[in-house]
């Protein structure tokens, strides 16, 4: 079962690169949804040995929430927003891809140092989690639109989710569901914040918030 898991890991890394290189807001939401869907498949490959109700709940919960509910919420948040693409990122797209290459290489180098053991049965998923976490943080720093930063936050949360499902211990169900619920609430609030920023500035560029001075 090693090879399909690695194929999934590679597909998710490719989706990371797409998130780093695209400026279209709706395309970003769609790709984040695809990433969530593929990530929801991950527990079915990592938890092979004790395939249980726990795996199904975690997988199905991730699939529905990340692949369906959150993207719909984000599309809803974009209603009435004029912008359809990121205009002035702090870091350009070509440079972002180069940064992504660096992030991925370092992440896989670190992951390669983790010995395969009963605690960490899937080092490749740990590499993936590190690269996704770094990609998410990079997106939050490098982009100016509020929506792209939310996508960065989503990728960061995806990384935590991926790391969680790669571990063999089954006691993390409550933690996982808690994180997913937090994420959902977070996206709700961020949707409201986007609407407010848009009403105030006719744009969702977060650099505008600097004008809010005394």
């Amino acid at each position: 079962m090693k090879s399909p898991l690695n194929a999934l890991v590679i597909i998710i890394v490719v989706s990371n690169f797409y998130l780093l290189s695209s400026s279209r807001l709706r395309a970003l939401i769609r790709m984040a949804a695809v990433q969530g869907l593929i990530l929801g498949l991950l527990p079915f490959f990592t938890q092979v040995r004790d395939f249980s109700g726990h795996t199904v709940v975690i997988g199905a919960g991730g699939l529905i929430l990340k692949g369906l509910v959150i993207p719909l919420l984000l599309f809803r948040a974009l209603r009435g927003v004029e912008e359809y693409r990121e205009r002035k990122p702090h870091v350009g797209y070509t440079l972002s891809i180069i940064a992504g290459i660096g992030i991925t290489t370092i992440a896989f180098w670190i992951g390669g140092m983790v010995p395969q053991s009963s605690v960490f049965p899937h080092p490749s998923v740990i590499s993936l989690a590190i690269s996704m976490a770094a990609t998410g943080l990079f997106l939050i720093i490098a982009r100016t639109e509020a929506l792209t930063q939310i996508i960065g936050y989503l990728v960061l949360e995806n990384a935590i989710y991926g790391f969680g499902v790669s571990l063999p211990s089954a006691q993390s169900l409550i933690v996982e569901m808690g994180v997913l619920l937090d994420l959902l609430v977070g996206i709700f609030i961020m949707g409201v914040v986007i609407a407010h920023i848009n009403r105030e500035f006719d744009s969702i560029n977060t650099d505008m918030l600097e004008e809010l001075k005394e």
């Binding site: 090879s3 690695n6 194929a7 890991v9 590679i10 890394v13 490719v14 690169f17 290189s21 797209y93 070509t94 891809i97 180069i98 992504g100 290459i101 991925t104 290489t105 896989f108 180098w109 992951g111 390669g112 080092p123 490749s124 590499s127």
Partner: protein, 306 residues
């Protein structure tokens, strides 16, 4: 260096005789999409024959460099065609590190074309040369990375190993390096979406603008060289995607040739359904290809992802 066998001469012979056919296939596919009948498949051969019979015109500002450009570039590409095997018949010359020689022969081609373009003293050709160098500076490392990932999975730095039959075929790295190589193929051969070979607006041209001043036999050399380059590129991509070993030499060669025709059709389809990218978007495309190449290197045999 290995002993040169009579059979191995077949790969360069196939390349030399059939290379212009690929241009014919692309033209046919584009005509099909546009609802036209299209030129005959052998049109490139007719063009080459016509150009070879013509005389060449030389500008008074140009020197011997301008005349040497097409000759040297064709010579380098002919040498390169003796390094690349087709199927499992092997190449006439094969030694450790010949993949690097191949890359530098292609670089030599570009270098002589660029100085020949600069030698004309035309502003347009200088602009084209500048763009060509810019994009190939990005495409070359990607090409190198792809060849390295193929060499890594074959544990061999000879073309006969890189493009030879593999024991275990890893699907994921093969797809990654195949897609990446295809993008490099489009960029190196000045096809859409990097460059439009059919355009005659100087402002948008890259490769075509460099060869505007060449005429007659010189232009025939350049066109034939472009055909050879496309042929060698498709051989490499075909083998990356389809490392066949059917235990029969004829079957292997036939499968590789079929895959090459499929790739050529793909180029034609891409040219028909896509527009040329904005110049500023091209580096992004090539960096995307670089990302895939790095992933292929990471996920291949002996890579970090095991």
């Amino acid at each position: 260096m290995e002993q040169m066998t009579l059979k191995s001469v077949l790969s360069p012979l196939l390349a030399l005789s059939c290379a212009p056919l690929l241009f014919g296939i692309i033209a046919r596919i584009k005509a099909l999409f546009a609802g036209r009948k299209g030129p005959p498949l052998l049109q490139t051969y007719y063009d080459l024959g016509k150009l070879l019979r013509k005389g060449a015109v030389y500008s008074t500002t140009s020197s011997w460099i301008f005349k040497a450009g097409p000759v040297v570039s064709l010579a380098a590409l002919l040498s390169a065609s003796f390094l690349v095997p087709i199927g499992t018949i092997g190449a006439p010359f094969s030694f450790a590190g010949d993949i690097f020689l191949f890359i530098y022969l292609l670089a030599l081609v570009r270098f002589v074309m660029v100085i020949a373009a600069l030698d004309t003293g035309s502003a347009f050709e200088g602009m084209g040369a500048s763009r060509e160098v810019f994009f190939s500076a990005l495409a070359e490392p990607v090409f190198l990375l792809c060849l390295l990932s193929l060499a890594q999975s074959a544990s061999d730095f000879r073309f006969s190993g890189v493009l030879g039959p593999t024991e275990q075929f890893a699907v994921v790295p093969a797809i990654l390096s195949g897609v990446s190589l295809f993008v490099v193929l489009l960029a190196e051969n000045a096809r859409i979406p990097v460059d439009d070979p059919a355009t005659h607006l100087e402002l948008t041209m890259i490769h075509e603008v460099m060869v505007l001043d060449h005429s007659g036999p010189d232009f025939a050399f350049i066109t034939y060289g472009a055909c050879l380059k496309l042929w060698l590129g498709t051989v490499i991509v075909a083998r990356a995607l389809l490392p066949v070993h059917a235990n029969s030499v004829i079957l292997d060669v036939a499968l590789t040739l079929c895959m090459m025709v499929v790739l050529t059709v793909c180029i034609g389809v891409v040219e028909s359904i896509m527009a040329r990218l904005r110049l500023l978007k091209v580096p992004q495309l090539l960096m995307g290809a670089a990302a895939l190449a790095v992933l292929a290197l990471l996920s291949g045999k002996g890579g970090l992802l095991q």
